[in-house]
Amino acid sequence: MSSTPESTAAAGVRERELLARLRAGEDAAFDELVREHGGRMLAVTRRILGSDDEAQDALQEALLSAFKALARFREGAQLGTWLHRIAVNAALMRLRSTRRAPEHELAELLPGFVEDGHQVREPSAWSAEPDAALVSEETCALVRRCIDRLPENQRVALVLRDIEGLDNEQLADRLGLTVNAAKIRVHRARQALRALLDPYFSAEDR
């Protein structure tokens, strides 16, 4: 659904009113904010953390810290964008602060090469080259499950770069890596995800 200038203006007025009620400490306004923005924030924390329980904990942390920071919210900024950033931060903070299980490198998901530099197993074309604009919800769910199977550091890099839209420099900054290391991590994650999707799309296996 596309937004018209009128609907955008109306949304802006509504958001300013909500903000005023939040700053006045009105209980119903907090309820409204959680119900309106919580779902999108939970989707973000879920993508980054890969677990429902952790994503819910991160959402709670994100919203409580947003409530405390409401006074610092800049007039004119978009509330949704601000909350989205807080949700990303809360999820990344959680990743850093909790002890993670040792990661298994998925070497078998990366292409292998014979001595002369050719691929060990040449890829077979995907039967129906998936057109992202037309894929079904079922396929989307499959892709999400495959993303969840990536090693954590790869999943986080892929989500931040390819879904949340960070550029290589921002990604490196958020993950505490050099830009080159961040690029390599995203590249490995895409290669691994391609390998995980391959059995589902490969013409040979149909």
């Binding site: 309820d31 779902g39 530099g117 040449e122 890829p123 995907w126």
Partner: protein, 140 residues
């Protein structure tokens, strides 16, 4: 990066003509591979035709690129991160190699699918909404 890929790039390496990504990959290989390290240590001082003989390459061509090299730099290729000469070699390899073309198509589809499949919103359990609102009311 493989020894052959590094050595095929020796001339560009010494003339500082490599894209930053590629140069870093070359340096990483050089720090781990003693034979290549020794070769490059003396390579800069070699004049033609000793240079050509030492590195086993005359000049880079499509045939110099291996699939391993191409697949390593797919992201740089797609993000326009290769310099024009590297890009031309890359394109020449893709023209000749169906396996790499297939891989490139699938790699691009993978990125698009990841982006498109992301859930925009996830239902927040009512009990969690209540817990968050209760925590706010209880906060000092």
């Amino acid at each position: 990066m493989r020894c052959a890929d590094l050595r095929a790039r020796a001339r560009d390496y010494f003339e500082d003509e490599l894209a930053a990504d590629v140069r870093e990959a070359c340096d990483a290989h050089l720090s781990e591979c003693a034979p290549c390290g020794a070769l490059f240590a003396r390579g800069a001082a070699l004049a033609e035709p000793d240079f050509t003989q030492a590195f086993g390459v005359q000049w880079r061509s499509a045939g110099d690129l291996t699939c391993a090299w191409v697949l390593e730099f797919l992201a740089a290729y797609l993000e326009q991160g290769l310099d024009p000469r590297e890009r031309a070699s890359f394109d020449a390899h893709l023209d000749l190699c169906e396996a790499c073309r297939t891989y490139l198509t699938q790699y691009s589809s993978t990125v698009r699918l990841a982006r498109h499949s992301a859930a925009e919103s996830t239902p927040v359990p009512p009990a969690l909404v209540e817990a968050i609102l209760a925590a706010r009311r209880a906060a000092p």
